[in-house]
Structure formats: C-alpha cells, structure tokens
C-alpha cells in the first residue's frame, strides 16, 4: 500500500486516495449540503479584503458586489472554513507520512526560482479561469460531476484536455 521513498517519506496508494477523496465529497454533501471547493474560499477572501480596503470599489464592481458589500459576509462561508480544515488535515497527513518539510519540488533540470515563477503564472491563469468557469477542479469539476452537472463534465474535460496539451509544450520543465 505504501510506496516508501529514499528519504523516509511515502505516499498513499493513489487509487485508495481517490476512494478516500470520493468519500470525503460524499460526506461533505451529507453533512453540509455542499460539495467541496477551493477557489471559492480564495475568491471570498479576496472579496472580503477588497471590501475592507476599498468598499466603494466593491459597490461599483459587478463581480465583487455579488459576494461582498452591504450586509453580505464573505468570510462567513462554508468554503472558507472547509479550506481551513483542508490545511489542518493536510498538516496531519504530512506528519503521518513524514513529508513535513519546507522544500520546492521540481525537476533537477530546472531551478527552484523557475519552478516558483511557473507555479505563480499557472496559478494566476487557473484562478482567472476558475472564475470564468464558476469553479475550479474541486468546486466545478469534482463536486459538479458528483451531482451529474453537465457544466462539471465540460469543466473537467476542458481542464484536463488543456493540461494534456500544455504539459506536452512545457514538458522540458519536468523531464
């Protein structure tokens, strides 16, 4: 079940990990009535921050005013708390699987700096896309597909289809 690496850290069997993730999603629907998500928590945090710094901008903005401003409380949201739980759970997982180290994982052929710049660029594009798609891999694809949402399937195909093509273009960064 456990693939032990040289440095003593190990990973869970990916199939078992998938089943556990599915169970988490099922429990999430059962307990909270909502699917899991990630980008929504970031979105709400950003909206709350913008609302604290420039409330007038939030009032005028068609995007921000959906989540913040007036008597809306963007931080009082299931996803914000869920992500806090994800961080806590991931931390415990890191302890149990001996992977709790501060490091940048990258191909030996590229520098940490290059890896971080690409991660930042990719994150920016993904964050932008997740707002166009009204959700990310977790919120739109995973949770959406679980409730047989057609949008969820399209998002999943688009995300992984694009990734398949872009991965080939940028393959030198990994292999």
């Amino acid at each position: 079940m456990k693939k032990i690496k040289n440095d003593g850290s190990f990973y869970l069997n990916p199939y078992l990990g998938g089943v556990i993730l599915g169970t988490v999603l099922l429990l999430s629907f059962y307990i909270s009535g909502r699917g899991v998500g990630a980008s929504g928590a970031v979105k709400n945090t950003v909206a709350a921050t913008v609302n604290a710094v420039a409330p007038q901008h939030v009032e005028k903005s068609a995007y921000y005013s959906q989540f913040a401003g007036g008597d809306k409380r963007p931080m009082n949201n299931w996803l914000v708390y869920e992500v806090l739980g994800v961080l806590a759970g991931a931390f415990i997982s890191g302890i149990v699987f001996n992977r709790l180290k501060l490091k940048v994982e990258h191909s030996p052929k590229i520098t940490s700096r290059r890896r971080l710049i690409f991660a930042l660029a990719g994150g920016l594009i993904f964050g932008f896309g997740s707002q166009l798609a009204r959700g990310c891999t977790s919120g739109a694809a995973l949770s959406g597909m679980a409730v047989l949402s057609f949008g969820g399937y399209i998002t999943m195909v688009a995300i992984f289809g694009t990734a398949f093509v872009v991965a080939w273009i940028l393959r030198k960064n990994w292999i």
């Binding site: 009082n76 708390y81 806090l84 806590a88 931390f91 302890i95 149990v96 001996n98 709790l100």
Partner: protein, 313 residues
C-alpha cells in the same frame, strides 16, 4: 400632526438593550492576564517540586516576559477606564464584594512578585548582565536565597489571578452568558494552556517540551470538558440562558467559536501534540501558535457575545 412620546427605561445607549462598553482592551487583558498567571504558576510549581534546573524555560526563561505581559495587560485595562486619572482610588479601599477590587489587589501583589522572580533569573539567562546599583544586587541576592518562599505565594496568587480573569465576567449578574461560576476555572485552565504553549515555544530542551506537551494535552481535555459543561449548564437553565447558549449553538458565534476555538484552537493542537509524543516530527510552533490564537479568540467571543445576552426581553 400626530406625535407620540415614549418614556421608557429600556433604551439606554450602550447599556440597554445591549451592552456596548467593553471593546478589545478587556479580552486582550484577559488573555494576557491568563497567560501571565499560567507561566507564574508553572514556574512556582516546578520550583516547589525542586525541578528548576530540569525545567529551565518554565522556571527561568518564560517568567522573564511576565512583567511585560502584566504591565501591557494593565495598560489595556487602564485604557478601558472612563476616568483614567482616578485608577489609584481602587487602592484606597478593600471591598470583598467588588470584583474589580479583587483584581486590582491580586495584580498589586503578583506584579511585584513577578518582577522580583524575573529579575532574579536575568543574570542566569543573560550572563553578561550587570545590575549596576548595590541595592539592586542586594535585592537579587535576597530573592535568590528566598526563592522557595516566593514560589509558594506566587503559585497561589497565579491561580487566583487565572480564576479572576473569568470571575471578572461571571460577577456580571446582568449578563446570562457570563453569569456562571464555571467561567473562573475555565479561564484558569485556558490561561494555563496558553502559558504551556509559550513555554513550549521558548524551550529548547526536548524533555521539557515533552512534559509541557503532556500537561497541555491534559489541560485541553479539561478545558473541553468545562466548555461542554458551560453549555450543558446553560441549556438546563432558564430561557435567557438557553438563548445565551444558542448564540454558540447555531447562532452568529457558532462558526468562529467551533472553528477557531474548539477545533483549531484546542482539538487540532492536542492531536498534533499527541503525534509529537508518539515520536512523529511536529514543528511545535504550529500547535503553540494555534493554542495562543484560539485562547485570544475565545476571550474576544466571550466578551462580545456576553454583552449581547440579557435578562429582560
């Protein structure tokens, strides 16, 4: 034009229907007071047990910050006073029925003790330190000689101070959320838990951290037990107390209370500490900081929510 005149005693700004007089100063002081009480208790306790050389951070290092913590807390209390220049009048009388009187006198006794205690260890922690004046050296020598006799009153007054941080609220009979005697022990245990967290942060000795980790797990379990009993007591009480409890059991304080105080501030750090004791590598800074943040948020929520709860509807 029809005019209506309302004469009522129920609309007093900032007092009725909702109290709105205690802001960030009070919960911040309660946090700092509890933290100082916890550190002083552990320092006194381990000295009485004769373990001062095995528990260096507990007995010697952590108490060094206590005078600053106490003075900062007292400064926050001072900021909260309406008539600031009359604060000294608290010390012109002894009134056993006045919670503020109790607090003032306990702080009056424990602050100098904490300064003496910390000062007597400054040279041990910073070997190049020089007290310069002869009188200071004499006081230092006297304190070092009589440490064990200072440790006893220090530990006892630390417990009184820790309980007092809760009593300050529970003596407030007009607010149902505060009017429960369990707040005293609850705030004491919570303060001791935050103190254990600070000691773990300051300690470089693995054995000492393990001992404090064990104590902290026990304190967290007791604290959770008190929190459960706090709400059990309310739910078995009158309608106003049930309403007070419901602020945390479905009301507006539910999510921050359970997420930041109960889960991230108590259960999660306790789980991490158990992992640490089991031999897993856990950066101790994470549970320690979470405990401190949880303790602070707990006091903010209790002060804020307590002001909303009331007897007359």
């Amino acid at each position: 034009m029809k005019e209506e005149l309302f004469a009522s005693g129920r609309n007093i700004p900032n007092i009725d229907p909702y109290l709105n007089i205690w802001h960030w100063q009070i919960p911040s002081y309660l946090f700092l007071g509890g933290l100082a009480a916890g550190i002083l208790f552990f320092a006194g306790f381990f000295t009485i047990m004769g373990k001062e050389n095995k528990m260096e951070a507990t007995v010697k290092k952590a108490p060094l910050i206590v005078p600053f913590v106490l003075v900062l807390g007292l400064f926050f209390l001072f900021l909260d006073l309406k008539h600031k220049l009359y604060f000294w009048q608290l010390y012109t009388t002894i009134r056993l029925e006045s919670p503020m009187g109790w607090g003032s006198w306990v702080l009056m006794i424990i602050t100098p003790i904490s300064i003496l205690w910390a000062a007597s260890y400054v040279k041990e922690v910073f070997p190049n330190w020089d007290w310069k004046f002869k009188i200071l050296k004499t006081i230092e020598a006297w304190t070092i000689k009589n440490r064990i006799y200072i440790a006893w009153p220090m530990a006892i007054y630390a417990v009184i101070l820790g309980i007092y941080t809760g009593i300050l609220l529970s003596a407030f009979n007009a607010r149902p959320l505060w009017n429960t005697s369990i707040l005293g022990p609850l705030f004491l245990v919570s303060g001791m838990s935050t103190a254990a967290a600070v000691i773990m942060l300051m300690s470089k000795d693995h054995k000492e951290r393990k001992i404090m980790g064990r104590i902290d797990i026990l304190l967290i379990i007791v604290e959770l037990f008190f929190i459960i009993h706090l709400f059990m007591g309310f739910l078995a009480g009158s309608e106003v107390q049930i309403n007070a409890a419901n602020l945390f059991l479905g009301g507006k304080f539910t999510a921050p209370f359970f997420a930041f105080v109960v889960i991230l501030g108590l259960i999660f750090p306790a789980v991490l500490e158990v992992f640490e004791l089991k031999g897993f590598k856990v950066p101790i800074v994470v549970p320690a900081i979470l405990i401190l943040i949880g303790g602070l948020i707990f006091r903010f929520l209790m002060v804020e929510a307590g002001q909303i709860t009331r007897y007359l509807y």
